[in-house]
């Protein structure tokens, strides 16, 4: 870890977990951004060699326990996001921010659909497609998250 300053990545993962259970006003709850997925995406775009799929899978398990859903649901979707972003990484990192947002919208939307489907299998079917709202909110927040994380990365020289 030492000279790579990898602790920042871990800290952002923990912050992501924390933010995904932070209390929010009821009406905003439907559109809770996918913080953890956003942070993971940023590190994939910035320092792909420092991101491990297995760690992401384990983070997904942690999310499952926190959310009280079947073990493996978030693990599956987070790994899916990580895989897609790792595959697209070389192209996406060249995009301007708003295009990155669009890519995120699609990728996160896909992940949310998988999540919806798994939830339906588990028996708690959410009533509407509002389940896609988090993907939209995340995409809208992406430029700010990206800028904030980049300034952090440059300050602490994560590589």
């Amino acid at each position: 870890m030492g000279e790579h300053n990898g602790w920042l990545i871990w800290a952002s993962y923990l912050a992501g977990l924390l933010l995904s259970v932070a209390p929010m006003p009821g009406f905003m709850e439907v559109g809770r951004p996918l913080w953890l997925a956003m942070f993971i995406t940023y590190w994939i775009l910035a320092v792909p060699q420092r991101v491990s799929m297995t760690v992401i899978w384990l983070l997904g398990l942690a999310m499952d326990v926190l959310y009280g859903v079947l073990l493996g649901q978030h693990a599956l979707t987070l790994t899916l996001i990580a895989f897609l972003m790792l595959t697209l990484q070389q192209r996406v990192r060249m995009f301007p921010l708003w295009q990155q947002s669009l890519v995120l919208l699609v990728v996160f939307g896909l992940a949310q659909l998988v999540q919806l489907w798994l939830n339906a299998l588990a028996g708690n079917r959410p009533p509407t497609l509002a389940f896609l709202l988090p993907a939209l909110v995340s995409a809208l927040l992406w430029p700010w998250v990206f800028t904030a994380l980049r300034s952090l990365r440059l300050r602490f020289n994560v590589n």
Binding site: L18, A22, P23, L61, A62, V65, L66, L76, T79, F83
Partner: protein, 323 residues
């Protein structure tokens, strides 16, 4: 790619195992032990803010609140006095009837530490878990009525499914006339719906629904909801009945976990009968023996049926937390 496949298959396997078998429950509970502090941590700013607010709330406000609480305590005490005599009377009458239904259940006070982040489910986390004796399916209530039941137990925390979750149903009866029905959650925190109520059934706005205890999960007689809408639609086979939960499901911070009697009614009745028999025999022997033994000289009411005289910890009522 290979790694994705391996991890995906692993996740799928975990899901199936978790859904079908009990093997992963302890693992999940231990993981919960590590991860649940996240909820506390995430809630910390809110708590700090509340604490600061309380520190700096003005003296006059505190005085006013004190006055109000004193008045409330007085009222409660008056009611309690009446309750004591009533409870005693009830115990005596029940003894006469040989039935040993619990008059007062044991309770434990839990505090809310988190709300489920998924907006489509109504579940909350409380700060009592396996170590405090919380068990799966345990009923949870607040000062005003039933809230729900425990669905997941971790060492120091537990997850509670609220009445209004779409996957939750509870057997109820109308307090006025004993009409039975099933109240189903709708996903709206202010609404329950009664299933399969006949169009001619005697139910109207303002009726109090209490738990009927039929499912043997919830104790009988706790308020659940108040009917606020009855719609008779001649095109529908049943009437539509909507009710508002009496418990403040999305506002309460403190709640009571009820430890009710887990014995079946038959078991309870037979045990009570045995106890009564033993008591009678004792009395008979006492009458036969010339010298009144000091040990058996206790008041007759205190010795018989086990359940009513079982010590019930006084409920530290959740009234303070209901604001």
């Amino acid at each position: 790619m290979v790694r994705l496949l391996v991890l995906a298959v692993l996740a799928a396997t975990l899901m199936v195992v978790d859904a079908r078998f009990e093997v992963l429950k302890p693992v999940r509970s231990q993981l919960g032990l590590v991860l649940m502090p996240f909820y506390g941590l995430a809630d910390l700013p809110v708590r700090l803010w509340d604490g600061i607010n309380q520190q700096f709330s003005s003296r006059s406000e505190l005085l006013a609140e004190n006055e109000k609480l004193k008045a409330e305590a007085l009222l409660m005490q008056r009611r309690l006095q009446k309750l004591a005599t009533l409870t005693e009377q009830n115990v005596r009458l029940r003894e006469l009837l040989n039935s040993a239904e619990l008059v007062d259940e044991k309770v434990l006070v839990g505090e809310l530490i988190g709300v489920d982040p998924n907006p489509f489910t109504h579940r909350i986390l409380i700060d009592k878990g396996e170590r405090d004796g919380v068990f799966l399916g345990q009923p949870v209530l607040d000062a005003r009525g039933l809230m729900g039941q425990v669905v997941e137990v971790m060492p120091y925390t537990a997850r509670v499914l609220l009445l209004t979750d779409t996957t939750h149903s509870i057997p109820v009866q109308v307090n006025r006339n004993g009409l039975r029905a099933i109240a189903v959650g709708t996903g709206n925190p202010e609404r329950l719906e009664l299933r399969h109520v006949a169009d001619t059934a005697d139910i109207k706005e303002g009726d109090l629904l209490v738990s009927s205890g039929m499912g043997q999960r919830f104790p009988a007689g706790y308020p659940v909801a108040v009917v606020n809408e009855v719609i008779h639609d001649s095109g529908q086979p049943f009437s539509i009945v909507r009710a508002v939960p009496t418990a403040a499901l999305n506002r309460t911070r403190y709640m009571l976990l009820v430890f009710s009697d887990l014995r079946s009614p038959e078991q309870r009745a037979s045990e009570a009968a045995q106890a009564q028999e033993a008591h009678d025999r004792e009395l008979a022997e006492q009458a036969k023996s010339p010298a009144p033994s000091s040990a058996a000289g206790t008041a007759p009411g205190a010795a018989s049926a086990p359940a009513p005289s079982a010590p019930s910890r006084p409920a530290p009522a959740g009234t303070g937390g209901a604001r």
